[in-house]
């Protein structure tokens, strides 16, 4: 007589000796609160968003292109979690120095993805949407909208979700807004010379659900010329941030971490060089993570300034430091920008975020936590643009806004409901 596997499995299910209340709701609730706080603080989970902003006035900003101090003569500031999410006293004041960045013949526009999933062009001075290039990129609310623009301003590269991961990288000419497929994956980044496209995608020929790595495509031929596998983890909750190129096009960087979002999960920038064959062997640039201490420092988003310095959004705190507030417990997190020498990996300066951002983030469950989901630098100056997560509510879901910050200048709100943005290197084609 054959064994009825279905019946036997159900009998086994009933036979398990399980406590009638096997899980403590209070314990789960505490963990949920902590995790929400960490997620909010550390940003980047959804690989959403970006930003930018710039104008001619930016070029004279005081923090504009301070000379890079030698790593040996400027000690790295050790990230110390602040008991209060206020500017860190170790933050160095902005320096004034002669800019060494190219002159901008014309202020290039911002190219962005809206919360309604439209690809749009935005005036960086006013925040006005001047053109809708493509409507309805996705109807998936969890769509990761990372994008980039070619150096000549003729094409946008976007991520279309398809049927979820891995999605599809598409090229959209600004002239007619008709997308064409480039490859399977997402988070495209065009090299400074416009010849190569890097994007996160599966191993060639492998099950897309089982693999993930970095693909490089020759935009002249459309051929995949290199795949860099992530051998440290396959399909297991890895956070892989959008790649970004060094200004000279010789190196690629990307944020790497774990989706779990716990403070014990490291998240840092990795550098991929020509000699590097796997992400796991790439050089880590950023804070050393020490899980046993409960102190964490994360760099979920970073970009290059026009003068070659790397700037990372940094969130750090102590897992053991919690505050009690009327609306529940929260994690004390210090947030700032870390200016990094990409050659040595040393942090040469830390800059506190403007108070305006903290106030902007003081909504709903975001409370006092800032969440710049992506930072992007102007190609002609040190000005930053940020897409900031403002909070969430039961009616409208997530709220985002686009800000421009000249660091030592005034924080400027440009637009609401922008979930991703990049600063076009050139005026875009009409």
């Amino acid at each position: 007589m054959n064994v009825d596997l279905r019946e036997r499995l159900h009998a086994l299910n009933r036979a398990q000796v399980v406590d009638p209340q096997p899980v403590s709701p209070e314990l789960v609730l505490t963990r949920v609160h902590r995790r929400r706080a960490v997620q909010t603080a550390a940003a980047g989970l959804a690989a959403a968003a970006v930003v930018v902003g710039i104008g001619a006035v930016v070029y004279a900003a005081p923090w504009d292109a301070p000379p890079m101090p030698p790593a040996t003569s400027t000690p790295t500031v050790t990230p110390e979690p602040s008991p209060e999410p206020t500017p860190d006293p170790t933050v160095q004041p902005p320096e004034t120095a002669a800019p060494a960045v190219p002159e901008a013949p014309e202020v290039p526009p911002l190219v962005a993805v809206t919360a309604a999933n439209d690809l749009v062009v935005i005036d960086p001075d006013t925040g006005e949407i001047t053109r809708v290039v493509l409507s309805g990129i996705s109807d998936d609310p969890d769509h990761s909208p990372a994008l980039d623009v070619s150096p000549d301003g003729r094409h946008a590269y976007i991520t279309s979700p398809g049927a979820g991961w891995p999605g599809e990288v598409q090229r959209v000419p600004f002239s007619d807004g008709t997308p064409e497929p480039i490859g399977v994956g997402g988070s495209p980044a065009v090299s400074p010379d416009g010849r190569t496209l890097a994007y996160v995608g599966p191993d060639p020929g492998a099950d897309p659900e089982e693999s993930r790595g970095l693909n490089l495509v020759d935009l002249g031929t459309g051929q995949l010329v290199r795949h860099i596998p992530d051998s440290t983890c396959i399909g297991c909750g890895r956070f892989v941030g959008p790649p970004f190129w060094s200004p000279d096009g010789s190196r690629l960087f990307m944020a790497l971490g774990w989706v779990d979002g716990y403070p014990t999960a490291a998240e840092y920038i990795v550098e991929i060089t020509e000699d590097t064959v796997e992400l796991s062997e790439a050089r880590q640039v950023g804070p050393e993570h020490v899980p046993a201490t409960g102190i964490f420092t994360r760099w979920p988003s970073a970009t290059f300034l026009a003068d070659g310095r790397l700037v990372a959004f940094e969130a750090s705190g102590d897992e053991a430091a919690w505050r009690d507030a009327d609306d529940g417990p929260g994690l004390q997190v210090a947030e700032r920008l870390a200016i990094v020498d990409p050659d040595s990996g040393a942090v040469t300066q830390r800059v506190a975020l403007p108070d305006g951002l903290r106030l902007a983030g003081n909504h709903g469950e975001g409370r006092t936590t800032i969440r710049p989901v992506q930072i992007a630098a102007s190609p002609y100056g040190p000005s930053l643009a940020m897409v900031v997560w403002l909070g969430w509510d039961n009616v409208d879901g997530h709220h985002y806004a686009l800000y421009r910050w000249d660091i030592d200048g005034e924080l400027q709100h440009l637009a609401d409901d922008i979930v991703a943005v990049v600063w076009s290197p050139s005026p875009v084609s009409s």
């Binding site: 054959n2 064994v3 009825d4 596997l5 279905r6 036997r8 499995l9 159900h10 009998a11 086994l12 299910n13 009933r14 036979a15 398990q16 000796v17 399980v18 406590d19 009638p20 209340q21 096997p22 899980v23 403590s24 709701p25 209070e26 314990l27 789960v28 609730l29 963990r31 949920v32 609160h33 995790r35 929400r36 997620q39 609310p141 099950d207 659900e209 089982e210 596998p229 051998s231 440290t232 983890c233 396959i234 399909g235 297991c236 909750g237 979002g261 529940g328 469950e365 969430w392 039961n394 879901g397 997530h398």
Partner: protein
Amino acid sequence: MVDRPRDRALVDLVRQRGEALTRYAGMFTGDVAAAQDLVQDALVKVFAKTRTGREIDALEAYVRRTIVTLYIDRYRRTRKFRQVQHLVSTDQLAPTGPDAAEVLDLYTALATLAPQERAAVVLRYFDDLTVADVAARMGLAEGSVKRYLSNAIHKLETRLGPVSPDDDGSPIPVITTTTRREGLT
């Protein structure tokens, strides 16, 4: 602390369905303590998301899916489940009735399966999912699921004797393979 609607939904779900969820997780882990951890982690993952709904039934279904995902992901990441399988103890079972011995046999037989095989068996024969649905749930190709099921049934039959044919009436083919994907950690 539980005044917020989402928190209240979590507490209600745990109190009403915590035991059922733990039993379900136990089908994968084979160990009640590990099942409790798995359920707790799945709850945290689901409720940490900001768009979680509040309907108990929908939430339970979501948590069950997450239990499977976490179980598979943990296997892929650490393979610890394979390392602790020998620690499984039948003290966690209290079968009664005429089928008690057979339940114990199945419990022991399931412990011989690889995690992917066990997940496929539970999803296919306990959750009654189609092969296509199992493949979608596990993030695998249908062919891979068929191979896992075939190997699993072959292993179970060595301890339990012949099992019932699949729904289409055809005997479950035995497919053996030694090919293993490298690079998993």
